[in-house]
Symmetry: C2
Subunit: 211 residues, 2 copies
DNA sequence: TATATATTGTGAATATATTCACAGCGTGAT
DNA sequence: ATCACGCTGTGAATATATTCACAATATATA
Protein backbone atom coordinates (compact mmCIF):
# COMPACT_ATOMS: atom_id res chain seq x y z
CA UNK A 1 0.00 0.00 0.00
CA UNK A 2 3.06 2.26 0.19
CA UNK A 3 4.23 2.07 -3.42
CA UNK A 4 2.60 4.40 -5.87
CA UNK A 5 -0.72 2.97 -7.03
CA UNK A 6 -1.76 4.55 -10.31
CA UNK A 7 -4.91 6.61 -10.01
CA UNK A 8 -6.24 5.22 -13.25
CA UNK A 9 -5.77 1.64 -12.17
CA UNK A 10 -7.87 2.23 -9.08
CA UNK A 11 -10.66 3.59 -11.25
CA UNK A 12 -10.51 0.60 -13.57
CA UNK A 13 -10.51 -1.87 -10.70
CA UNK A 14 -13.73 -0.37 -9.44
CA UNK A 15 -15.14 -0.73 -12.93
CA UNK A 16 -13.95 -4.33 -13.30
CA UNK A 17 -15.56 -5.23 -10.03
CA UNK A 18 -18.91 -3.91 -11.14
CA UNK A 19 -18.72 -5.77 -14.43
CA UNK A 20 -17.65 -8.96 -12.70
CA UNK A 21 -20.48 -8.70 -10.19
CA UNK A 22 -22.89 -8.50 -13.09
CA UNK A 23 -21.41 -11.59 -14.67
CA UNK A 24 -21.65 -13.45 -11.39
CA UNK A 25 -25.11 -12.29 -10.46
CA UNK A 26 -26.88 -12.25 -13.79
CA UNK A 27 -25.11 -14.63 -16.11
CA UNK A 28 -23.82 -17.09 -13.53
CA UNK A 29 -20.46 -17.31 -15.22
CA UNK A 30 -17.59 -18.64 -13.11
CA UNK A 31 -14.50 -17.72 -15.17
CA UNK A 32 -13.57 -14.87 -17.43
CA UNK A 33 -10.65 -14.21 -19.81
CA UNK A 34 -8.77 -10.95 -19.82
CA UNK A 35 -10.01 -10.13 -23.31
CA UNK A 36 -13.65 -10.59 -22.31
CA UNK A 37 -13.35 -8.35 -19.30
CA UNK A 38 -11.38 -5.90 -21.42
CA UNK A 39 -14.13 -5.73 -23.98
CA UNK A 40 -16.77 -5.05 -21.34
CA UNK A 41 -14.62 -2.39 -19.71
CA UNK A 42 -13.58 -0.73 -22.96
CA UNK A 43 -9.85 -1.32 -22.50
CA UNK A 44 -7.28 -3.73 -23.92
CA UNK A 45 -6.60 -7.21 -22.62
CA UNK A 46 -3.02 -6.26 -21.78
CA UNK A 47 -4.35 -3.43 -19.67
CA UNK A 48 -6.52 -5.80 -17.69
CA UNK A 49 -3.60 -8.14 -17.07
CA UNK A 50 -1.39 -5.26 -15.97
CA UNK A 51 -4.03 -4.14 -13.52
CA UNK A 52 -4.28 -7.65 -12.14
CA UNK A 53 -0.52 -7.64 -11.70
CA UNK A 54 -0.77 -4.51 -9.61
CA UNK A 55 -3.19 -6.04 -7.15
CA UNK A 56 -1.23 -9.28 -7.24
CA UNK A 57 -4.03 -11.50 -8.49
CA UNK A 58 -3.19 -14.41 -10.75
CA UNK A 59 -5.47 -16.16 -13.14
CA UNK A 60 -4.83 -19.49 -14.70
CA UNK A 61 -3.84 -20.01 -18.32
CA UNK A 62 -6.54 -21.70 -20.33
CA UNK A 63 -9.26 -20.93 -17.78
CA UNK A 64 -8.80 -17.26 -17.09
CA UNK A 65 -9.75 -15.51 -13.89
CA UNK A 66 -12.01 -17.08 -11.27
CA UNK A 67 -14.62 -14.35 -10.99
CA UNK A 68 -15.65 -14.86 -7.41
CA UNK A 69 -12.05 -14.96 -6.22
CA UNK A 70 -11.16 -11.93 -8.30
CA UNK A 71 -14.04 -9.86 -6.93
CA UNK A 72 -12.83 -10.82 -3.49
CA UNK A 73 -9.26 -9.77 -4.34
CA UNK A 74 -10.35 -6.44 -5.74
CA UNK A 75 -12.42 -5.90 -2.64
CA UNK A 76 -9.46 -6.64 -0.42
CA UNK A 77 -7.41 -4.16 -2.36
CA UNK A 78 -9.96 -1.37 -2.73
CA UNK A 79 -12.17 -1.56 0.31
CA UNK A 80 -11.65 -0.77 3.93
CA UNK A 81 -11.80 -3.86 6.15
CA UNK A 82 -14.59 -2.29 8.17
CA UNK A 83 -17.12 0.43 7.39
CA UNK A 84 -15.74 3.50 5.65
CA UNK A 85 -17.98 6.41 6.52
CA UNK A 86 -18.76 9.12 3.97
CA UNK A 87 -20.35 12.53 4.47
CA UNK A 88 -22.13 14.67 1.92
CA UNK A 89 -21.96 18.44 2.20
CA UNK A 90 -24.60 20.48 0.42
CA UNK A 91 -28.09 19.05 0.15
CA UNK A 92 -29.22 20.82 -3.02
CA UNK A 93 -30.60 19.12 -6.11
CA UNK A 94 -27.37 17.36 -6.88
CA UNK A 95 -26.74 16.40 -3.28
CA UNK A 96 -30.18 14.85 -2.99
CA UNK A 97 -29.74 12.96 -6.23
CA UNK A 98 -26.50 11.47 -4.95
CA UNK A 99 -28.00 10.56 -1.59
CA UNK A 100 -30.80 8.76 -3.35
CA UNK A 101 -28.44 7.01 -5.69
CA UNK A 102 -26.17 5.65 -2.96
CA UNK A 103 -28.88 4.80 -0.45
CA UNK A 104 -28.27 1.23 0.67
CA UNK A 105 -25.92 0.43 -2.17
CA UNK A 106 -22.58 -0.48 -0.73
CA UNK A 107 -22.89 -1.38 2.92
CA UNK A 108 -19.19 -0.80 3.60
CA UNK A 109 -18.97 2.58 1.93
CA UNK A 110 -21.97 4.44 3.22
CA UNK A 111 -23.04 8.07 3.39
CA UNK A 112 -23.65 8.37 7.10
CA UNK A 113 -24.40 12.09 7.34
CA UNK A 114 -25.42 15.04 5.19
CA UNK A 115 -24.90 18.71 6.00
CA UNK A 116 -26.52 21.90 4.77
CA UNK A 117 -26.65 25.58 5.59
CA UNK A 118 -30.43 25.67 5.39
CA UNK A 119 -31.69 25.31 8.97
CA UNK A 120 -34.93 23.80 7.67
CA UNK A 121 -33.04 20.78 6.44
CA UNK A 122 -31.34 20.04 9.74
CA UNK A 123 -32.99 17.13 11.47
CA UNK A 124 -34.69 15.78 8.37
CA UNK A 125 -33.89 12.42 6.81
CA UNK A 126 -33.32 12.17 3.06
CA UNK A 127 -33.06 8.73 1.51
CA UNK A 128 -32.21 7.13 4.83
CA UNK A 129 -29.54 9.72 5.55
CA UNK A 130 -29.76 12.09 8.48
CA UNK A 131 -29.25 15.78 7.66
CA UNK A 132 -27.36 18.05 10.06
CA UNK A 133 -26.73 21.76 10.35
CA UNK A 134 -23.38 22.95 9.04
CA UNK A 135 -22.16 23.94 12.51
CA UNK A 136 -22.45 20.37 13.69
CA UNK A 137 -20.04 19.16 11.06
CA UNK A 138 -16.75 18.87 12.99
CA UNK A 139 -18.44 17.14 15.87
CA UNK A 140 -20.43 14.67 13.79
CA UNK A 141 -17.55 13.87 11.45
CA UNK A 142 -15.31 12.99 14.32
CA UNK A 143 -17.93 11.02 16.16
CA UNK A 144 -18.80 8.98 13.09
CA UNK A 145 -15.17 8.68 12.06
CA UNK A 146 -15.76 10.06 8.57
CA UNK A 147 -12.73 9.93 6.28
CA UNK A 148 -14.31 10.64 2.90
CA UNK A 149 -16.63 13.43 1.79
CA UNK A 150 -18.72 14.47 -1.19
CA UNK A 151 -18.81 18.21 -1.79
CA UNK A 152 -21.97 19.44 -3.52
CA UNK A 153 -22.08 23.02 -2.28
CA UNK A 154 -21.95 26.07 -4.58
CA UNK A 155 -18.51 27.14 -5.79
CA UNK A 156 -18.28 30.04 -3.37
CA UNK A 157 -18.50 27.85 -0.29
CA UNK A 158 -16.42 24.93 -1.46
CA UNK A 159 -13.02 26.04 -0.18
CA UNK A 160 -14.34 26.84 3.27
CA UNK A 161 -16.07 23.49 3.43
CA UNK A 162 -12.90 21.74 2.28
CA UNK A 163 -10.85 23.47 4.98
CA UNK A 164 -13.32 22.40 7.60
CA UNK A 165 -13.33 18.84 6.29
CA UNK A 166 -9.55 18.63 6.35
CA UNK A 167 -9.40 19.90 9.90
CA UNK A 168 -11.99 17.31 10.88
CA UNK A 169 -9.88 14.46 9.57
CA UNK A 170 -11.30 13.87 6.10
CA UNK A 171 -8.58 12.58 3.72
CA UNK A 172 -10.48 11.94 0.50
CA UNK A 173 -12.98 14.14 -1.29
CA UNK A 174 -15.24 13.90 -4.28
CA UNK A 175 -15.67 17.50 -5.35
CA UNK A 176 -18.53 18.62 -7.61
CA UNK A 177 -17.92 22.34 -7.10
CA UNK A 178 -16.20 23.98 -10.05
CA UNK A 179 -13.18 25.22 -8.11
CA UNK A 180 -9.69 23.93 -7.60
CA UNK A 181 -9.57 23.09 -3.91
CA UNK A 182 -6.43 23.91 -1.95
CA UNK A 183 -5.73 21.04 0.38
CA UNK A 184 -2.60 19.58 1.98
CA UNK A 185 -0.71 17.01 -0.06
CA UNK A 186 -1.93 14.30 2.28
CA UNK A 187 -5.52 14.82 1.11
CA UNK A 188 -6.85 13.37 -2.14
CA UNK A 189 -9.36 15.27 -4.24
CA UNK A 190 -11.28 13.75 -7.12
CA UNK A 191 -12.91 16.48 -9.18
CA UNK A 192 -16.15 16.01 -11.07
CA UNK A 193 -16.65 19.10 -13.10
CA UNK A 194 -19.88 18.69 -15.00
CA UNK A 195 -19.54 21.90 -16.98
CA UNK A 196 -16.05 21.08 -18.17
CA UNK A 197 -17.09 17.57 -19.07
CA UNK A 198 -20.06 18.80 -21.04
CA UNK A 199 -17.83 21.27 -22.88
CA UNK A 200 -15.47 18.43 -23.72
CA UNK A 201 -18.31 16.33 -25.09
CA UNK A 202 -19.56 19.30 -27.08
CA UNK A 203 -16.10 20.08 -28.43
CA UNK A 204 -15.42 16.57 -29.64
CA UNK A 205 -18.92 16.31 -31.03
CA UNK A 206 -18.02 19.19 -33.32
CA UNK A 207 -14.57 17.83 -34.05
CA UNK A 208 -15.91 14.49 -35.18
CA UNK A 209 -18.72 15.97 -37.19
CA UNK A 210 -16.33 18.29 -39.01
CA UNK A 211 -14.02 15.49 -40.19
CA UNK B 1 -9.03 21.08 -36.05
CA UNK B 2 -7.80 17.93 -37.82
CA UNK B 3 -4.65 17.21 -35.79
CA UNK B 4 -5.08 15.30 -32.59
CA UNK B 5 -6.16 17.64 -29.80
CA UNK B 6 -5.38 16.12 -26.42
CA UNK B 7 -8.48 15.33 -24.43
CA UNK B 8 -6.90 16.68 -21.27
CA UNK B 9 -5.99 19.97 -22.85
CA UNK B 10 -9.59 20.57 -23.83
CA UNK B 11 -10.65 20.01 -20.23
CA UNK B 12 -8.05 22.43 -18.93
CA UNK B 13 -8.99 25.08 -21.46
CA UNK B 14 -12.55 24.98 -20.21
CA UNK B 15 -11.21 25.36 -16.69
CA UNK B 16 -8.90 28.23 -17.62
CA UNK B 17 -11.77 30.06 -19.22
CA UNK B 18 -13.86 29.86 -16.10
CA UNK B 19 -11.01 31.09 -13.93
CA UNK B 20 -10.25 33.91 -16.34
CA UNK B 21 -13.87 34.95 -16.47
CA UNK B 22 -13.81 35.25 -12.69
CA UNK B 23 -10.70 37.40 -12.80
CA UNK B 24 -12.28 39.62 -15.41
CA UNK B 25 -15.65 39.88 -13.80
CA UNK B 26 -14.82 40.04 -10.15
CA UNK B 27 -11.30 41.34 -9.77
CA UNK B 28 -11.15 43.50 -12.88
CA UNK B 29 -7.67 42.32 -13.72
CA UNK B 30 -6.54 42.82 -17.32
CA UNK B 31 -3.43 40.62 -17.57
CA UNK B 32 -2.35 37.35 -16.04
CA UNK B 33 0.92 35.41 -15.98
CA UNK B 34 1.11 31.73 -16.74
CA UNK B 35 2.15 30.97 -13.18
CA UNK B 36 -0.84 32.78 -11.70
CA UNK B 37 -3.30 30.99 -13.94
CA UNK B 38 -1.45 27.76 -13.21
CA UNK B 39 -1.81 28.23 -9.48
CA UNK B 40 -5.54 28.85 -9.77
CA UNK B 41 -5.99 25.86 -12.03
CA UNK B 42 -3.81 23.55 -9.99
CA UNK B 43 -1.32 22.84 -12.76
CA UNK B 44 2.20 23.97 -13.62
CA UNK B 45 3.08 27.16 -15.49
CA UNK B 46 4.71 25.14 -18.24
CA UNK B 47 1.47 23.23 -18.65
CA UNK B 48 -0.46 26.44 -19.12
CA UNK B 49 1.99 27.68 -21.73
CA UNK B 50 1.84 24.38 -23.61
CA UNK B 51 -1.93 24.57 -23.67
CA UNK B 52 -1.75 28.11 -25.03
CA UNK B 53 0.59 26.84 -27.73
CA UNK B 54 -1.98 24.28 -28.75
CA UNK B 55 -4.69 26.85 -29.33
CA UNK B 56 -2.15 29.18 -30.91
CA UNK B 57 -2.54 32.04 -28.49
CA UNK B 58 0.49 34.19 -27.68
CA UNK B 59 1.01 36.28 -24.62
CA UNK B 60 3.60 38.95 -24.26
CA UNK B 61 6.74 38.62 -22.18
CA UNK B 62 6.71 40.87 -19.16
CA UNK B 63 2.96 41.44 -19.30
CA UNK B 64 1.57 37.95 -19.62
CA UNK B 65 -1.73 37.08 -21.25
CA UNK B 66 -4.40 39.66 -22.02
CA UNK B 67 -7.32 38.08 -20.26
CA UNK B 68 -10.12 39.35 -22.44
CA UNK B 69 -8.32 38.35 -25.62
CA UNK B 70 -7.45 34.95 -24.18
CA UNK B 71 -11.04 34.22 -23.17
CA UNK B 72 -12.02 35.13 -26.69
CA UNK B 73 -9.38 32.81 -28.15
CA UNK B 74 -10.41 29.91 -25.96
CA UNK B 75 -14.00 30.53 -26.97
CA UNK B 76 -13.07 30.48 -30.62
CA UNK B 77 -11.30 27.21 -30.10
CA UNK B 78 -13.80 25.46 -27.85
CA UNK B 79 -17.19 26.80 -28.83
CA UNK B 80 -19.37 26.35 -31.82
CA UNK B 81 -19.78 29.55 -33.83
CA UNK B 82 -23.54 29.32 -33.41
CA UNK B 83 -25.76 27.57 -30.88
CA UNK B 84 -24.78 24.03 -30.01
CA UNK B 85 -27.88 22.21 -28.88
CA UNK B 86 -27.76 19.64 -26.09
CA UNK B 87 -30.36 17.10 -25.04
CA UNK B 88 -30.74 15.38 -21.69
CA UNK B 89 -32.11 11.86 -21.51
CA UNK B 90 -33.54 10.66 -18.22
CA UNK B 91 -35.31 13.16 -16.01
CA UNK B 92 -34.70 11.52 -12.64
CA UNK B 93 -33.12 13.16 -9.63
CA UNK B 94 -29.78 13.58 -11.29
CA UNK B 95 -31.28 14.74 -14.58
CA UNK B 96 -33.32 17.40 -12.85
CA UNK B 97 -30.30 18.59 -10.87
CA UNK B 98 -28.35 19.00 -14.08
CA UNK B 99 -31.19 20.78 -15.84
CA UNK B 100 -31.42 23.22 -12.96
CA UNK B 101 -27.70 23.73 -12.88
CA UNK B 102 -27.36 24.55 -16.56
CA UNK B 103 -30.54 26.60 -16.90
CA UNK B 104 -29.60 29.85 -18.61
CA UNK B 105 -25.89 29.41 -18.00
CA UNK B 106 -24.14 29.26 -21.32
CA UNK B 107 -26.32 30.69 -24.06
CA UNK B 108 -24.39 28.93 -26.82
CA UNK B 109 -24.36 25.51 -25.23
CA UNK B 110 -27.92 25.00 -24.12
CA UNK B 111 -30.00 22.02 -23.08
CA UNK B 112 -32.86 22.43 -25.52
CA UNK B 113 -34.83 19.28 -24.74
CA UNK B 114 -35.21 16.62 -22.08
CA UNK B 115 -36.63 13.13 -22.54
CA UNK B 116 -38.10 10.58 -20.19
CA UNK B 117 -39.98 7.31 -20.23
CA UNK B 118 -42.52 8.50 -17.70
CA UNK B 119 -45.54 9.74 -19.71
CA UNK B 120 -46.45 12.11 -16.86
CA UNK B 121 -43.30 14.11 -17.51
CA UNK B 122 -43.94 14.63 -21.21
CA UNK B 123 -45.16 18.12 -21.85
CA UNK B 124 -43.91 19.55 -18.58
CA UNK B 125 -41.22 22.20 -18.34
CA UNK B 126 -38.37 21.74 -15.86
CA UNK B 127 -36.02 24.65 -15.27
CA UNK B 128 -36.98 26.26 -18.55
CA UNK B 129 -36.46 23.03 -20.44
CA UNK B 130 -39.26 21.27 -22.23
CA UNK B 131 -39.69 17.60 -21.46
CA UNK B 132 -40.67 15.14 -24.20
CA UNK B 133 -41.70 11.50 -24.34
CA UNK B 134 -38.97 9.07 -25.29
CA UNK B 135 -40.66 8.17 -28.58
CA UNK B 136 -40.36 11.73 -29.79
CA UNK B 137 -36.59 11.68 -29.43
CA UNK B 138 -35.42 11.07 -33.01
CA UNK B 139 -37.82 13.63 -34.38
CA UNK B 140 -37.03 16.34 -31.85
CA UNK B 141 -33.28 15.78 -31.96
CA UNK B 142 -33.20 16.19 -35.68
CA UNK B 143 -35.51 19.18 -35.72
CA UNK B 144 -33.47 20.97 -33.07
CA UNK B 145 -30.18 19.85 -34.60
CA UNK B 146 -28.90 18.32 -31.38
CA UNK B 147 -25.30 17.09 -31.56
CA UNK B 148 -24.53 16.54 -27.88
CA UNK B 149 -26.41 14.63 -25.20
CA UNK B 150 -26.35 13.99 -21.48
CA UNK B 151 -27.32 10.47 -20.47
CA UNK B 152 -28.86 10.20 -17.00
CA UNK B 153 -30.95 7.08 -17.42
CA UNK B 154 -30.48 3.90 -15.35
CA UNK B 155 -27.69 1.58 -16.44
CA UNK B 156 -30.05 -0.91 -18.07
CA UNK B 157 -31.40 1.60 -20.57
CA UNK B 158 -28.20 3.45 -21.37
CA UNK B 159 -27.02 1.40 -24.34
CA UNK B 160 -30.41 1.55 -26.06
CA UNK B 161 -30.54 5.29 -25.52
CA UNK B 162 -27.00 5.67 -26.86
CA UNK B 163 -27.87 3.70 -29.99
CA UNK B 164 -30.88 5.89 -30.58
CA UNK B 165 -28.82 9.03 -30.04
CA UNK B 166 -26.17 7.92 -32.49
CA UNK B 167 -28.71 7.14 -35.15
CA UNK B 168 -30.25 10.57 -34.59
CA UNK B 169 -26.97 12.32 -35.29
CA UNK B 170 -25.55 12.91 -31.81
CA UNK B 171 -21.73 12.86 -31.86
CA UNK B 172 -20.79 13.71 -28.27
CA UNK B 173 -22.17 12.29 -25.04
CA UNK B 174 -21.78 12.91 -21.37
CA UNK B 175 -22.66 9.58 -19.81
CA UNK B 176 -23.62 9.24 -16.14
CA UNK B 177 -24.79 5.65 -16.45
CA UNK B 178 -22.31 3.14 -15.06
CA UNK B 179 -21.86 1.20 -18.28
CA UNK B 180 -19.31 1.23 -21.03
CA UNK B 181 -21.27 2.45 -24.03
CA UNK B 182 -20.61 0.85 -27.42
CA UNK B 183 -20.57 3.58 -30.00
CA UNK B 184 -18.91 4.06 -33.40
CA UNK B 185 -15.42 5.53 -33.33
CA UNK B 186 -16.81 8.76 -34.70
CA UNK B 187 -18.74 9.38 -31.50
CA UNK B 188 -17.12 10.76 -28.37
CA UNK B 189 -18.20 9.60 -24.91
CA UNK B 190 -17.19 11.33 -21.70
CA UNK B 191 -17.97 9.08 -18.75
CA UNK B 192 -18.87 10.40 -15.33
CA UNK B 193 -19.01 7.45 -13.06
CA UNK B 194 -19.92 8.69 -9.62
CA UNK B 195 -19.56 5.33 -7.91
CA UNK B 196 -16.10 4.73 -9.30
CA UNK B 197 -15.04 8.25 -8.41
CA UNK B 198 -16.28 7.88 -4.86
CA UNK B 199 -14.44 4.58 -4.55
CA UNK B 200 -11.28 6.28 -5.74
CA UNK B 201 -11.66 9.05 -3.18
CA UNK B 202 -12.31 6.46 -0.48
CA UNK B 203 -9.34 4.35 -1.52
CA UNK B 204 -6.88 7.22 -1.48
CA UNK B 205 -8.33 8.52 1.77
CA UNK B 206 -7.29 5.23 3.32
CA UNK B 207 -3.94 5.18 1.52
CA UNK B 208 -2.99 8.61 2.80
CA UNK B 209 -4.19 7.96 6.30
CA UNK B 210 -2.20 4.72 6.48
CA UNK B 211 1.13 6.35 5.63
C1' DT C 1 0.00 -40.31 -19.74
C1' DA C 2 1.35 -37.37 -23.48
C1' DT C 3 0.11 -33.59 -26.57
C1' DA C 4 -1.75 -29.48 -28.55
C1' DT C 5 -3.44 -25.17 -27.50
C1' DA C 6 -5.01 -20.83 -25.86
C1' DT C 7 -4.19 -17.98 -22.16
C1' DT C 8 -1.51 -15.76 -18.58
C1' DG C 9 2.37 -12.81 -16.77
C1' DT C 10 5.75 -9.65 -17.87
C1' DG C 11 10.18 -7.41 -19.91
C1' DA C 12 10.73 -4.40 -23.52
C1' DA C 13 8.99 -1.08 -26.74
C1' DT C 14 6.13 2.49 -27.71
C1' DA C 15 3.03 6.30 -27.02
C1' DT C 16 1.46 10.02 -24.47
C1' DA C 17 1.77 13.67 -21.05
C1' DT C 18 4.34 16.65 -18.31
C1' DT C 19 8.24 19.23 -16.84
C1' DC C 20 12.81 21.31 -17.46
C1' DA C 21 15.59 24.82 -18.88
C1' DC C 22 16.92 28.45 -21.54
C1' DA C 23 17.12 31.56 -25.75
C1' DG C 24 14.72 35.46 -27.17
C1' DC C 25 12.14 39.33 -26.50
C1' DG C 26 8.87 43.05 -25.14
C1' DT C 27 8.32 46.13 -21.45
C1' DG C 28 8.99 49.45 -17.89
C1' DA C 29 12.54 51.99 -15.73
C1' DT C 30 16.14 55.24 -16.19
C1' DA D 1 17.27 56.00 -26.39
C1' DT D 2 19.17 52.47 -23.82
C1' DC D 3 19.21 48.83 -20.54
C1' DA D 4 18.06 45.12 -17.44
C1' DC D 5 14.66 42.17 -16.10
C1' DG D 6 11.27 38.58 -16.00
C1' DC D 7 8.28 36.52 -18.82
C1' DT D 8 6.98 33.68 -22.89
C1' DG D 9 7.60 29.96 -26.30
C1' DT D 10 9.56 25.71 -27.14
C1' DG D 11 13.14 21.82 -28.04
C1' DA D 12 14.72 18.39 -25.23
C1' DA D 13 14.38 15.48 -21.25
C1' DT D 14 11.74 13.04 -18.24
C1' DA D 15 7.84 10.63 -16.33
C1' DT D 16 3.88 8.05 -16.85
C1' DA D 17 0.70 4.99 -19.22
C1' DT D 18 -0.26 1.69 -22.55
C1' DT D 19 0.65 -1.88 -25.80
C1' DC D 20 3.48 -5.49 -27.91
C1' DA D 21 5.08 -9.90 -28.13
C1' DC D 22 6.45 -14.09 -26.43
C1' DA D 23 8.05 -17.62 -22.95
C1' DA D 24 5.87 -20.24 -19.48
C1' DT D 25 2.10 -23.00 -18.29
C1' DA D 26 -2.30 -25.14 -16.90
C1' DT D 27 -5.89 -27.52 -18.97
C1' DA D 28 -8.75 -30.27 -22.04
C1' DT D 29 -8.40 -33.94 -25.09
C1' DA D 30 -7.08 -38.25 -26.95
Amino acid sequence: MNVQIPDKTVGRLSLYRRLLSNLLGIEKVKFVFSHQLAKDAGVTAAQVRRDMMIIGYSGSPKRGYAIEELVESIGQFLDAPDLQAVALIGVGNLGRAILTYFAGRRPNLRIVAAFDNDPNKAGTVISECRCYAMQEMPEVLEKKNVTTAIITVPAGQAQDVADLLVSSGVRGMLNFAPVNLRVPASVYVEDMDITTSLEKAAFFARCRTAS
